[in-house]
């Protein structure tokens, strides 16, 4: 029996479907068409919230299973998502399962790998179909690209941001609702703390204005805020700036931070270490401002400005304002 292709979706901090989940759903719909396989989505959430989320997901897929899990209010989502996906899928030994390569998606992938005994191809930026998913992925910070596939034609694939543009289907799909059954989760969420409420999240931003050690301190980031505002973007950072305590960790771009893929990435006072590069090299356009003409970022920026960010950024804000007027 040919397996169904499943997309597991998640909600963002605003309670809506994430951009990444919309992309994963679009990817799965395209693969289903290429493979002649059924496609479906799963989303797990509290009974209050899951119906609206499932509705958003159904814009991309012909069939969506909404899994009501009261425990989602008080426990981490990944364990419930894995359990909910197993329940929604039923016996489907040849299924392939796709989810975003963000923390909750990776946790869900690991839990499903253990439950199903199948393999995982992680961080697959380009997925096509050839009697099973075929995944192209960058390794070693993108210095090499490999092509992998599953030995028995099916498995779990985690997909990074920006692998395909999200595109709604011609017509919305149907939503079925089920209630999660199973033991109470062992892990409890005692509290959810928001440090950057209202701020644009870097994963979702079209423009990222990012600062490094060259920004010099938290005051420097105030200047970056004004540029981000002028461009309708979000502020990111290198690890050096995060380690210095100038900006929260949730803003860090790179190997141990977030992998982002904006239209524009403006790197200010960032040298371009390989661990930073892996987080932002997928940006469509990279602009760097650096006092050091030999900074490594010159090698992968599209526009490299040799200059002092404390002069260039205010000038840039002024120039943008002048052109708008």
């Amino acid at each position: 029996m040919p397996g169904t292709l499943w997309a597991i979706a998640e909600a963002g901090p605003d309670g809506h479907l994430t951009k990444l989940s919309a992309e994963v759903a679009t990817l799965v719909r395209g693969l289903g068409a290429a493979a002649g396989r059924d496609v479906a989505g799963v989303v797990v959430g509290t009974p209050d919230a899951v119906a609206a989320l499932a509705g958003e997901l159904a814009a991309y897929l012909p069939r969506v299973v909404a899994v009501e899990a009261a425990a989602a209010a008080t426990s981490p989502i990944a364990a419930l998502a894995a359990q909910g996906a197993l329940q929604a899928m039923g016996a489907d030994p040849n299924a392939s399962i796709f989810m975003g390569n963000f923390p909750d998606g990776r946790d869900t992938a690991g839990l499903l790998m253990a439950a199903l005994g199948v393999g995982v191809i992680s961080n697959a930026g380009g997925v096509t179909w050839n009697s099973g998913p075929v995944a192209e992925k960058g390794v070693f910070g993108g210095r090499l690209v490999t092509t992998s596939s599953f030995a028995d034609g099916h498995g779990i694939v985690t997909v990074p941001l920006g692998s395909v543009p999200a595109e709604a289907a011609a017509s919305a799909g149907v939503v079925e609702t089920i209630v999660l059954v199973g033991a109470a989760p062992a892990v409890t969420v005692l509290e959810r703390v928001s440090e950057a409420a209202g701020a644009v999240q870097i994963e979702e931003a079209k423009v990222i204005v990012s600062g490094g050690r060259g920004v010099g301190g938290p005051e420097g980031f105030a200047i970056l805020d004004s540029l981000a505002e002028a461009l309708g973007g979000a502020v990111g950072a290198s690890r050096a700036a995060v380690d210095a305590g100038w900006i929260p960790y949730s803003r860090q771009v790179g190997q141990t931070g977030k992998i982002v893929k904006p239209e524009v990435y403006i790197a200010l006072g960032i040298s371009g270490a390989v661990q930073h590069k892996v987080g932002m090299q997928g940006a469509h356009t990279i602009v760097a401002v650096n006092t050091d003409p030999d900074a490594p970022i010159a090698e992968f920026a599209d526009l490299f400005v040799i200059g002092n960010l404390f002069e260039v950024v205010p000038a840039l804000v002024a120039e943008l304002a002048a052109r708008k007027a």
């Binding site: 199948v118 490999t146 992998s148 596939s149 498995g155 599209d302 200059g307 260039v312 052109r323």
Partner: protein
Amino acid sequence: MKIVILAKPVPDATGQERLGPDLRLDRVAIPPVINGNDEYVLEAALRLRDAGAEVSITLLAMAGAFGPDALRKGLAMGADNAYLVSDAALAGSDARATVRVLAAALAKLEFDLVLAGVDSSDGGGGVVAAALASMSGLPYLSYATSIAPDGGRIRIKRFSATGYDVLEAPMPALVTGMQALGEPRYPTLRGIMGARSKTITTWTLADLGIDPASVGADAAASRVSTFSIPDARSAARVVKDPAPEAAKQIVDFLIERRAI
């Protein structure tokens, strides 16, 4: 309290990794280190000890012949002993096989807490720890930015998109962590000397009762078929003008690229 750290030996990220003729990472050519995220959780365990808790720290790894070199570094930082699963039949193992092996090894160890990195730098997908927790029946708490055991329970701050969540579970449990836990210490000279007399116990698949046919390259669920070097970005346009003129050029460039 007994803590087991999953410490994966990986090629040094500053080295030039390459794939061998079998399209797998050539692990012999590059000096190994402990995976960066695993060093952060080791550091977190050492800080619990520094704060006065009675803590024993055991490293656990599955790796080839280069494993002991990497583990020595963790012992020099302050871990007490190490177990290394090493067997010729493990070559080419994927995450699924790694989880089988680590689960069998964990079953032979005593612990209150297992700590792992959120992912490994050599192409790991950040899935081993979750799968291992599931196989071993342990509560799973991930992406910790702080780790605080309290009696029989463990409490962590979990990194979230907008801040953090506070999670709690009974121990024994498995927790993954990362950089935000704090910069790992450098081994002292005394630590390095002391590490020489600490024990690294090696286990084979037979010691763990694992069928060699269930692991290694032939049992891997996924296969790499090709590899290539991606096209480099074309060379940057360089601007050296004073700030007001540079600002104009940046805006022009963004408009030209239809970026704004």
